[in-house]
Symmetry: C2
Subunit: 101 residues, 2 copies
């Protein structure tokens, strides 16, 4: 299992209607095969400067790779992500091996 997430901030000129458009479009990513547990987040810690997050899971690395290359993902990147997002950090988590418990 892979939990893929991205924490990000919007560009200063991006207003609330545009932000809503962004997140409505993000939900459409859930149509991509293999993507499960999709969530949209508001980042509220004052210990970092990011404003929002998206997270999702894939059962296999192959599904994650297919997501990255999927046309719907590329459309989201071009029409939503690039116009709106100023700063971001991508995080990919796998469950820690059992030997650590």
């Amino acid at each position: 299992m892979i939990q893929h997430s991205v924490i990000f901030s919007m560009k200063e000129n991006i207003d609330t209607p545009r932000i809503k458009q962004f997140f409505k479009a993000a939900v459409e990513l859930t149509e991509i095969p293999g993507l499960i547990n999709f969530k949209s987040w508001k980042q509220v810690s004052k210990k970092n400067a990011f404003q929002y997050g998206l997270s999702m899971e894939f059962s296999t690395h192959e599904q994650y790779q297919q997501y990255n290359l999927h046309p719907a993902h590329l459309v989201f990147i071009n029409e939503q992500w690039i116009p709106c997002v100023a700063d971001f950090l991508e995080i990919d988590y796998e469950p820690l091996a059992e030997e650590f418990f």
Copy 2:
């Protein structure tokens, strides 16, 4: 609901047995009231330099605050976190308001 997580890297002198000790101790945080969905993660994206993650959820901000002040959390910070962790980023997520969908 609040999803609290921290993404982090170990100090260079921290070896595998010490890392296992760290994560075994981390599991004991689950005894703190209100803490649910605790997970330990290996960070595998090459797009950031962090190595591990911990994530957990709380139903309310009050529970999260109680966790922060709980003696078991403070012991973990002093005996595991400070000796082992070099760099980290704290992330606090709340579900995005329904108006964004």
